[in-house]
């Protein structure tokens, strides 16, 4: 009975927090995908001026803590004259962090396309841009979808850290309720379940659907 009362009192806040988490996840994911494709392609270049900056980006964002990156973007950038609203700072930090991992997936996915495909496209006089867009990237995409599914779950869980710059996501709401009610087991228990439902109930089915869709396009059956 007590638990039902708790749910009635605090359920709406937790739902609102979850919606913020979903929103953050979608925006960060969109940013991460865009950055990953650009940086991943740049990493494949043989020109130092192209692959250099991409490598520096990947090294920094993959090699340092996400929490420190969030603090940097929210607390330190204003010292250089760039002030971001906390929600914006949060999704940019998470997106850039996961984008660095994604860049490596893009690079690996492209490199995993057999050499014969590159040669066949070259033999048909395709320019590097056409070859990448029409031949190599569609095949690379199919190869990299499963690891992207993992990465998006990581991303969802990573968004919990933005609670520390007071973005009112699920984690922030849970902490807030805990500090007034001291019902830690209930509130953090519910938070765990909600995170699990979001990853298993939203991201995993979406990725499966995408994998099946892409597989159909290449004439494979999963």
């Amino acid at each position: 009975m007590e638990f039902l009362v708790f749910l009635k009192d605090h359920g709406p806040e937790l739902i609102r927090g979850s919606l913020t988490t979903i929103e953050l996840t979608m925006l960060s994911a969109a940013l991460a995908i865009i950055i990953a494709v650009i940086a991943g392609l740049m990493r494949l270049s043989t020109n130092r001026l192209v692959y250099g900056p991409a490598t520096v980006y990947v090294e920094i964002f993959r090699g340092t803590s996400l929490l420190v990156q969030i603090y940097w973007i929210f607390f330190v950038l204003p010292l250089f004259g760039l002030t971001l609203e906390k929600f914006t700072a949060g999704f940019i930090a998470v997106g850039m962090n996961l984008g660095a991992y994604g860049a490596e997936l893009v690079r690996g996915g492209i490199q995993s396309v057999p050499k014969g495909q590159w040669e066949a496209a070259t033999a048909l006089s395709m320019s590097p841009a056409i070859r990448m867009r029409r031949i190599i990237f569609p095949q690379a995409l199919l190869n990299m979808l499963p690891p992207w599914g993992n990465l998006l779950i990581e991303l969802l869980k990573g968004t919990a850290l933005v609670a520390l710059i007071s973005v009112s996501d699920l984690m922030f709401m849970a902490k807030k309720i805990n500090s007034t009610t001291y019902l830690s087991a209930q509130v953090f228990g519910i938070a765990l379940v909600l995170y699990y439902l979001m990853s298993r109930g939203l991201i995993t089915p979406f990725m499966r659907w995408l994998e099946r869709l892409m597989a159909r396009k290449v004439g494979k059956r999963l």
Partner: protein, 272 residues
């Protein structure tokens, strides 16, 4: 850095210039010399079979002509124009990517492992380059592709993906895909080596058709001596990056002069 200027002729002129000319072409991988100052002319309409032990450089000849890799020395001409070089300030310099891309239009190549694009149907494989590279309308490209697929006996499977086709069928689609670009020279790189014995015939039948009906210029690397003997105008036996011996098939297979050719042929025939 100034580019090196070469003093080869910028254009081959005259009555009977070859369609393909390798002039003193050398290819090295590190210290390993794969092609050693190779000279080879191929006349228009000629079918040249290239045979030889593995590592003798025979596949490399095709890869250089397709401009999949760069040569280290010498020059290759196609239809009188330099392939590996381009004119710059009255001399020749190494070709840039754009020049190579234009020259590749003259050459078509079929590979041992077919290399069809797996995410496209047979028909889509055949219209992709004509539409994307030549700028043909989709309708025209489809018309051309359907004629070619019909010629190789694959029209019925036009809407299947490669994963649903047998090796022999995939190779026939690959031949149609190359022909859709209307190349002047076709290269066949061990196109039957990856096939099961019972489907080799369907691919050789297509090649035979090309020889007899279409008078295409072709270079074919093959291990099928019988087919080479039957179909080619000339056989080149490669050994150690050079042409050890060449001549009409009757001469090479019936009365080889070089001891290495004799050894190679007797070893191959024994294996069969």
């Amino acid at each position: 850095m100034k580019p090196t200027v070469f003093h080869y002729p910028a254009k081959l002129e005259g009555e009977d210039i070859p369609l393909v000319r390798f002039h003193e072409v050398t290819k090295r991988y590190g210290d390993l010399v794969v092609l050693d100052s190779l000279d080879l002319d191929v006349a228009e309409g000629e079918m040249v079979a290239i045979i030889g032990p593995s590592g003798s450089g025979k596949t490399t000849v095709l890869r250089m002509l397709m401009a999949l890799e760069k040569i280290n020395d010498g020059i290759i001409y196609v239809d009188g124009e330099p392939l590996t070089h381009m004119s710059r300030n009255g001399g020749l310099v190494w070709a840039d990517e754009k020049h190579l891309r234009r020259q590749r239009l003259n050459i078509g190549m079929c590979f041992q492992h077919f290399n069809l694009f797996p995410h496209m149907t047979a028909l889509e494989n055949c219209i992709e380059a004509p539409v994307q590279v030549l700028g043909m309308s989709k309708a025209d490209a489809i018309k051309r592709a359907e004629e070619l697929l019909d010629m190789v006996g694959m029209l019925e499977k036009a809407h299947e993906h490669p994963s649903r086709l047998s090796g022999g069928q995939q190779q026939r689609v690959a031949i149609a895909r190359s022909l859709a670009m209307r190349p002047k020279v076709m290269l066949f790189d061990e196109v039957t080596s990856a096939l099961d014995p019972e489907v080799i015939g369907e691919v050789t039948t297509v090649i035979r058709k090309l020889v007899h009906k279409h008078n295409l210029t072709m270079l074919m690397v093959t291990h099928q001596m019988g087919f080479a003997k039957e179909i080619s105008d000339r056989v080149c036996f490669f050994y150690d990056g050079k042409i050890e011996e060449q001549g009409p098939p009757d001469q090479i297979f019936g009365n080889p002069k070089s001891e290495r050719t004799q050894q190679f042929l007797s070893a191959v025939l024994e294996a069969n």
